[in-house]
């Protein structure tokens, strides 16, 4: 029986992008369904009743939720193609540590940058850059966090690159000036079709953020 895979997603979501990249890296056929988050589908609510959020990966009718869990699931089921996590337990632990770091810090700090002003925004910007510098340190001289090939941490982090222009414009700063190595890494990732086809254009995301600011009355 052929595998049936459906991804419920929302185009600007960095969490959804992670799953798109993982599926594309492994060449896994799936159906992509765009959700309207102001009008969530019955399927989404049925498949993720706890959080009611995207992305939701539905594999032969069974839902898997939460992007880090989904990427690990994909890596474990389709373990023969393009492995994302290394096979050594210690290397896996390092990868999971940094994925957890990205999850704890990058989204919230990025959000702080585009939703606040003044001192709060300045603090957000400072901490955001500090986190990116720590990530640069972890990358070191490797082409990717995964070494010679795209790995778990690359997949988890690179989606936020599509939001960098929005952060820069809202925060009035340059990420490349502070973290040129990370920008070079992101552009290297974008050379891969799995990434370039999964990430929306930065201008498009910026336009979306401007719309959100209007809707939520954020200056």
């Amino acid at each position: 029986m052929a595998d049936e895979l459906v991804l419920l997603d929302f185009w600007p979501s960095p969490f959804g992008m992670r799953v798109r990249i993982a599926l594309a890296e492994k060449g896994i056929k799936h159906e992509y369904r765009e959700e309207d988050l102001r009008n969530k589908s019955a399927l989404l609510l049925q498949m993720n009743p706890v959080h009611k959020k995207i992305p939701v990966l539905i594999h032969n009718g069974k839902p898997v939720c939460e992007s880090l869990i989904q990427v690990q699931y994909i890596d474990e089921v389709w373990h023969d193609q393009a492995p994302l996590l290394p096979s050594d337990p210690y290397q896996r632990a390092i990868a999971r540590f940094w994925a957890d770091f990205v999850d704890k810090k990058i989204y919230e700090l990025g959000r702080k940058i585009w939703t606040t002003k003044g001192e709060e925004q300045e603090t957000g910007k400072k901490e955001f850059i500090e986190c990116l510098k720590l990530l640069e340190g972890e990358l070191g001289d490797k082409p990717y966090f995964g070494g010679e090939n795209l790995g778990y941490v690359d997949v988890v982090l690179v989606p936020f690159y599509s939001w960098f222009l929005a952060y820069e414009k809202c925060g009035n700063f340059s990420i490349e000036a502070e973290c040129p190595k990370l920008i070079a890494w992101a552009q290297r990732c974008l050379q891969k079709e799995s990434v370039s086809k999964s990430l929306p254009d930065q201008e498009k995301v910026y336009g979306f953020v401007l719309q959100l600011k209007k809707i939520f009355g954020i200056e």
């Binding site: 869990i69 699931y73 210690y90 896996r92 540590f97 770091f101």
Partner: protein
Amino acid sequence: MGEENKVILHGVWASPFSKRVELALKLKGIPFEYVEEDLQNKSPQLLRCNPVHKKIPVLVHNGKPIAESLVILEYIDETWKNSPRLLPKDPYKRAKVRFWTSFVQQQLFDTMFTVTKTEGEAQRKAVKEVSEKLQVLEEGIKELFPNGNPCIDSQNIGLLDIVILSLLGPHKVQEEVLGIKIIDPEKTPLIFAWLTAINQLTVVKEATPPHDKLVALLKFLRENSLKSSA
């Protein structure tokens, strides 16, 4: 202990995150050296091993450090493959365990901290939130315990059991200090039965500090929080 397979755990007896790792090592029968850290005066080894977060627990295996309790637990399970296996073999079942572990970690922990550190309206609101989340968990774990009877033993105990224990294992202590019912056997019978089953295990009993010590700790933490927010 020989240099190969030398395991050191930097922890704090009062930390639920530290306790998780301690329990996992004991359940798998892994010999380890325990270093009790003073959080007001962190050891240079700890700061060297976890420069990013500077927190406990940190596991050091053969000189290599690992931080973040859930990352450590998965590392332990992948390195020492003896029973109990903390995660199931099947990828879908693993995803389910990770999902509920994440739910407890991200949804319940912070709200429980708020319950223990606040009073009045703020506390009432947090208690209501905990109650709602426990209902969601009660519903969710039904598929993990299909016969409605959680039978946990030292061979089948897993990641989710360890994580729920670290948060709500001491619910009797929490209820005594706060004067609030946290786990109601009538509202959440499955969670109540589950926690009772885990708390019965010998390894768990031995790793749990005495009731009075935990009561004193919680009282101290609560008083400190209320004082600093006053």
